[in-house]
């Protein structure tokens, strides 16, 4: 019993005051992928490489749209790896809980 008390006191508090105090993910974290519209040329390499198929390309009324859904994303970073323009990258963002699926979509568009 005495040893348990010593161990407990020695350990102290190990929890942190999250979310009051932000908990920032370490560099290299596999978080929410980000699309950089100024670099993207809509080549579709990321679409082909994405294992769960949550990136897709639409073309309608002279406009190209690239959609990335975090709903089903496995954060593998294959999109980042294959993109020839560095237009997609994983970020440190992990607070992705949402009440609608639409909130989990990132869409970038370009006129053709």
């Amino acid at each position: 019993m005495f040893e348990i008390l010593i161990k407990t006191l020695k350990t102290g508090t190990v929890t942190i005051k999250y979310p009051q105090k932000p908990d920032i993910a370490p560099l290299g974290f596999r978080g929410k992928p980000e699309l950089l519209p100024e670099k993207c040329d809509f080549c579709g390499e990321c679409v082909k490489a994405c294992p769960p198929g949550v990136i897709w390309l639409d073309e309608e009324k002279g406009e190209k749209a690239l959609t990335l859904s975090c709903c089903g994303c496995i954060f593998c970073g294959r999109c980042e790896e294959v993109c020839p323009h560095g237009a997609i990258r994983l970020t440190l963002e992990y607070e992705l809980a949402s009440k609608t699926k639409d909130d989990l979509l990132t869409i970038i568009r370009r006129r053709v």
Binding site: I4, K7, T11, P26, F29, I74, F75
Partner: protein, 521 residues
């Protein structure tokens, strides 16, 4: 060694062996269908080679036949695979279960997924299919479209009954309270002692092996990684090793070392989690809190090292995707403190009489039962089975590193806890050795243009031996047979609980650390 062995087998069975092919450390012998049981029995009982997998392939497009493969793990880092041809028009094959109990579930799996019938099987009920699945639909046959949704039919599944005065049944699950996957446990009890337990699983069967056949190899790595969430590295590494073997690619030494470090980090956090789970179920929250705290520390370390708490996204065919060389000091420092903390915790845990009271002699699995069912991993080693894929069929950097394989004989919850604890220390020394000798160089070799062929990849996951048999045809996956350790170990729980009391079931269950997801593929 292996050549002599093959000669002995060929001599013993002469005209019954039609064909022999050797690739890497795998010897494939095609034998007469009627002789398979006798040959397997000889390998198992006379030569003492464990049966590690039985699976079928649909090769009707080639010659109108299915094949059944019986895979044995042999001494001297070799595997013998006995193959038989089974024609579609005569789908029966003699059961091996009477001779080797471990083949029980495999044969029933083949029956459900391929429609081949294990004649004389002691328990021919469906295993993976449910009673409402219509006859004639066999998902792993090539002519079964992955999008098929057969209409459900009326059917019945009959559980074993234990009858007698005062005997009653406690059906538990498949829907459980709390965050746990589905499984049905039918207990027959007389008062508190358990007279019989029958488990029923596969409620979340996902058709993973079929899915592999529709994926490109680069994508399939991520599927393998998700078959059993907390054994991600072991699964993806086994898959990658199988593909690399087919492609005749030797991955760079640095990649081998990185894989080894990841595999051992995975073992450490799993073992901490299992020890925490056992402590929770014996109402020792102090121990559980500390073990969970250590597990959390490893997961945070994982995140810093790989970007993923579950070490995902690292393995790829040809090596690894990220270097971890700059994390050397971070890992070493963390492991040193973890080791001290863990030692302190284990001393408190072991010296507590209330802990000993709940785990000693609880949930015993006798050695002969463990051997018969081919129980693997810490559960097997706690029942006196001296087996560890890292040593017996070395891969990654293991041939160059020193480690012990802890084995205990008691077979109870206590032994399983202590085997895990001993393994944690071994894992720490393995990582320390790997870090100090981390070779310079590339972390990845390109794997392009994979020739047609098949190979076995294997790892020792935290739960035990994990196997991937991958057949590649025209650059695509023709067949990927996954054998998760839990597929072997689940049946052991039916024996482990006998004569124990119902309140000890959760502890026994936790001590076996069984995966639903890895099993219900």
């Amino acid at each position: 060694m292996s050549e002599e062995l093959i000669e002995t087998i060929k001599k013993e069975f002469r005209s019954n062996v039609f064909d022999e092919t050797v690739s890497n450390n795998e010897h494939y012998l095609t034998v007469r269908k009627e002789e398979a049981v006798r040959i397997c029995d000889y390998l198992y009982h006379r030569l003492d080679f464990p049966l590690i997998s039985v699976f079928a392939t649909d090769e009707r497009a080639k010659d109108g036949c299915f094949r059944i493969h019986y895979m044995f793990s042999c001494k001297g880092d070799t595997f013998i695979i006995i193959k038989i041809k089974v024609e579609e028009t005569s789908p029966g094959f003699a059961t091996l279960t009477h001779k080797i109990p471990a083949s029980n579930w495999y044969e029933r799996e083949i029956q459900d997924m391929f429609g081949l019938v294990p004649v004389g099987h002691p328990d021919p009920r469906c295993l993976i299919h449910f009673e409402d699945w219509p006859a004639g639909f066999y998902p792993l046959r090539k002519d079964f479209d992955i999008r098929t949704k057969p209409a459900r039919v009326k059917g019945e599944y009959i559980y074993r009954r234990v009858e007698g005065e005062g005997v009653y049944e406690i059906p538990v699950g498949p829907v459980h309270a709390g965050v746990i996957e589905p499984g049905h446990f039918m207990f027959s009890v007389a008062g508190e002692p358990i007279l019989n337990l029958e488990i029923r699983h596969f409620y979340t069967h996902k058709g993973v092996e079929k899915l592999f056949e529709s994926l490109s190899i680069d994508k399939a790595v991520f599927l393998a990684e998700r078959i059993s969430g907390d054994n991600s590295v072991a699964h993806s590494a086994a898959f990658c090793q199988a593909v690399e073997k087919v492609a005749c690619v030797d991955i760079p030494p640095r990649a081998k070392y990185i894989r080894t470090i990841l595999l051992e980090l995975e073992r450490i956090y799993n073992h901490f989690g299992d020890i925490a789970g056992i402590a929770t179920d014996i109402a020792y929250p102090f121990g559980a809190a500390h073990a969970n705290r250590l597990k959390e520390q490893v997961m945070q370390l994982n995140e810093k090292v790989t970007g993923s708490r579950l070490l995902r996204g690292m393995n790829t065919t040809g090596g690894v995707r990220r270097d971890i060389g700059d994390k050397n000091e971070l890992i070493s420092k963390k492991l040193a403190t973890l080791k001290n903390n863990f030692r302190e915790l284990m001393e408190l845990l072991i010296s507590s009489p209330s802990v000993a009271d709940r785990i000693e002699t609880t949930g015993g699995i006798p050695n002969e039962i463990a051997k018969g069912l081919h129980v693997v991993g810490p559960a097997g080693r706690a029942s006196g089975i001296d087996g560890d894929t890292r040593r017996d069929h070395p891969y990654a950097a293991y041939p160059e590193l020193k480690f012990k394989v802890p084995v205990r004989k008691a077979g109870d919850v206590n032994a399983r806890t202590l085997v895990r604890a001993d393994e944690v220390y071994e894992s720490i020394t393995l990582i320390q050795q790997a870090l100090s000798r981390l070779p310079e160089g590339d972390i990845r070799t390109e794997v392009n243009q994979i020739p047609d062929g098949y190979a076995l990849g294997y790892t020792e996951a935290p739960r035990g031996e994990t196997l991937y048999w991958v057949h590649i045809l025209n650059g695509r996956i023709e067949r990927c047979k996954v054998r998760d350790p839990s597929f072997c170990n689940w049946l052991a729980i039916e024996y482990a609980v006998l004569d124990n009391i119902v309140p000890d079931f959760p502890i026994i269950n936790k001590s076996l650390s069984l995966s639903y997801s890895g099993n219900d593929m």
